[in-house]
């Protein structure tokens, strides 16, 4: 079966002032549809850059990245925006909910950008139940705990049924109890709905929740598990 993410000899160079920073130095990897993959590595290993490239938040310098059949190297800015709307869901370490909207508002605005309107779909309501936030939907982020905010962020990331869920240190701001709850939820979502998940972490315990761990160092994949 064709992998949902295929990365071949990916290079990314940032220009910081007059200095070229080689963030990715020839990364190659594949993620089959429905897999839960952890990417681990120390700071500066290039895992966040890989996250941004696969999430179509930044362009690539060379190589090839194919997400759900779309070659990102050939996409314009507006096409990358469309890909983010339809195929990628993001979960961030700091939740990144819009503070002026309620939990439901945060979910609905993602849905709006995804081109959907009307009542929430039945299968998404099931996801909300699984996440345990149905009763907290009308609260603003400041009234939610960190764990609740992260679960809202996961719901928001999934509302458009993306091809891939990208999670960047999703437990980085949570205590151990909430961390375990969020990681269990991610695993449940992967098992029950076949959601492909790519999670960045430098916590080995968190990484262990995934089906597979990819290790990065100095802009390269050093140990595909």
């Amino acid at each position: 079966m064709e992998p949902i993410i295929a990365v071949r000899d990916l290079r990314k160079i940032y220009h910081v002032g007059e200095v070229d920073v080689h963030a990715l130095r020839g990364v190659s990897m594949e993620v089959p549809r429905g897999e839960f993959v952890s990417i681990v590595g120390p700071s500066g290993s290039g895992k966040s850059t890989l996250f941004h490239v696969i999430g179509a938040l930044t362009s690539i310098t060379s190589g090839q990245v194919i997400v759900d059949g779309q070659d990102l190297s050939e996409l314009s800015d507006s096409e990358r925006t469309r890909l983010r709307r339809q195929k990628v869901g993001f979960v961030f370490q700091r939740y990144n909910l819009l503070p002026t909207l309620t939990a439901l508002g945060n979910i609905e605005i993602a849905r709006y950008f995804g081109g959907k309107s009307g009542p929430l779909e039945k299968d998404f309501l099931e996801i909300l139940r699984l996440l345990g936030i149905e009763h907290r939907l009308h609260h603003k982020p400041r009234a939610l705990s960190g764990g609740e905010q992260q679960r809202v962020a996961i719901a928001r990331a999934l509302v458009n049924r993306p091809a891939i869920l990208l999670a960047d240190e999703p437990t980085g701001n949570l205590d151990s109890e909430n961390s375990e709850a969020v990681l269990s939820l991610l695993r449940d979502l992967n098992h029950r709905f076949g959601q492909t998940i790519l999670m960045i972490t430098h916590n080995p315990e968190a990484a262990a929740f995934a089906d597979r761990i990819i290790q990065m160092r100095d802009g390269r994949v050093v140990q595909p598990a």
């Binding site: 938040l57 983010r84 709307r85 990144n96 508002g105 605005i109």
Partner: protein
């Protein structure tokens, strides 16, 4: 959904939203107050000119058509006017500024009343002595005067002999010869009024008067011509003044909204990154800011209209003798256009900055 985000964003920073709307409101008030005052004062002057009851209005050479004072003409010219065919009555007045735009007018009571009809006294009655002054209701209310009170005008003590209904040429009337004495202008008038046996002959009489060599340089108007001059375009500098006010309003609105939106964009850098991660295009981001700007401009416009109504009420109740204001609904769309243009110009740079914001940098913004 975007509208909800826009409203929630504005509610989130209530004080800033209120202050921005107030600032735009003041610029709108400035435009509406100037337009309302200009029109109110011209309309008041027009009505008072109409109240004279004359068919022809004559100004001496060198006098501006609707200025309050100016050059003078000899009082003896009235005898000449009375001899002109079809002239039934001729009278003249002297006008003296008493500070600001207020004036006092000297009249020959009998001639003036014969031309304009009797004064309607709300209190007191006609002149009893040379040091009597008749004031109109607006002046009396503003100065809290009643018949029998004394008032100092032109360094002279006057006794208020009567309070009359407004609408007859002036707010303060004294005997013509007394005012001439006090201002060292004996035998001089600032304007003359003619009443004809048949108002339809006004143009005929005007043609005759203009053909007389001794009246060369005199400005002679029918009452219709004279009243038509009370428009914004006929007052020297008024339109330019209004354009300056509109220009200032544009600049103020531009600066206020520009600053508000600039700080908004800086403050919301991270949120802009979130929206981009969710799939918002640069156009979506600009659209959100534009909608916020439009809401601010419209809220400011409504605030400005309400403030201008308040200003209208205050002017017409507190200083009605000096200033008259009118509500000017036909200027509301102009004020809206000014506030929208100023606000959108102000939001232009912050909006472009937000649209160009790199999503990754924005998401890592602290």
């Amino acid at each position: 959904m975007i509208n909800r985000l826009v409203i929630e964003n504005l509610k989130h920073r209530r004080l800033r939203t209120v202050l921005s709307a107030l600032s735009i409101g003041f610029q709108v008030t400035m435009i509406l107050a100037v337009a309302g005052l200009s029109r109110g004062m011209l309309e008041d002057s027009r009505n008072r000119a109409k109240g004279v009851g004359a068919d022809i209005w004559i100004k001496p050479p060198g006098a501006s058509a609707i200025s309050l004072t100016g050059a003078s003409m000899p009082q003896s010219v009235l005898r000449y006017f009375r001899e002109v065919p079809h002239v039934k009555l001729a009278t003249g007045t002297a006008v003296q500024p008493i500070g600001g735009i207020s004036t006092i007018t000297g009249i020959d009571y009998g001639e003036f009343v014969a031309m304009s009809g009797p004064f309607r006294f709300l209190d007191g009655g006609p002149f009893q002595s040379d040091d009597d002054v008749i004031v109109d209701q607006y002046y009396a209310e503003q100065q809290k005067l009643k018949a029998g009170d004394t008032v100092t005008i032109l360094n002279h003590q006057w006794r208020v002999c009567g309070v009359v209904e407004p609408g007859k040429l002036a707010r303060l009337f004294v005997r013509l010869h007394r005012l001439q004495e006090l201002t060292n202008s004996e035998g001089k008038l600032n304007q003359a009024f003619l009443k004809l046996d048949d108002p339809a002959r006004a143009q005929e009489v005007i043609r005759y008067l203009k053909s007389q060599p001794e009246l060369t340089g005199y400005s002679i108007y029918s009452i219709e011509e004279f009243l038509s001059m009370f428009s914004m375009s006929n007052v020297p500098g008024l339109q330019a003044f209004i354009y300056v006010i509109i220009g200032l309003s544009l600049i103020i609105g531009f600066l206020v909204v520009g600053l508000t939106m600039y700080t908004t964009v800086l403050e919301r850098t991270r949120e802009i990154g979130i929206l981009k991660a969710l799939g918002a295009s640069p156009l979506d981001i600009v659209g959100i800011l534009v909608r916020e700007t439009v809401v601010l401009a419209v809220a400011g416009w409504i605030t400005g209209i309400l403030l201008s109504l308040g200003a209208h009420w205050a002017i017409n109740t507190q200083v009605r003798a000096n200033l008259q204001s009118e509500i000017v609904p036909d200027w509301w769309p102009i004020a809206l256009a000014v506030s929208l243009i100023a606000s959108l110009l102000g939001a232009l740079y912050p909006g472009l900055r937000a649209a160009r914001q790199d999503a990754i940098e924005a998401l890592s913004y602290e």
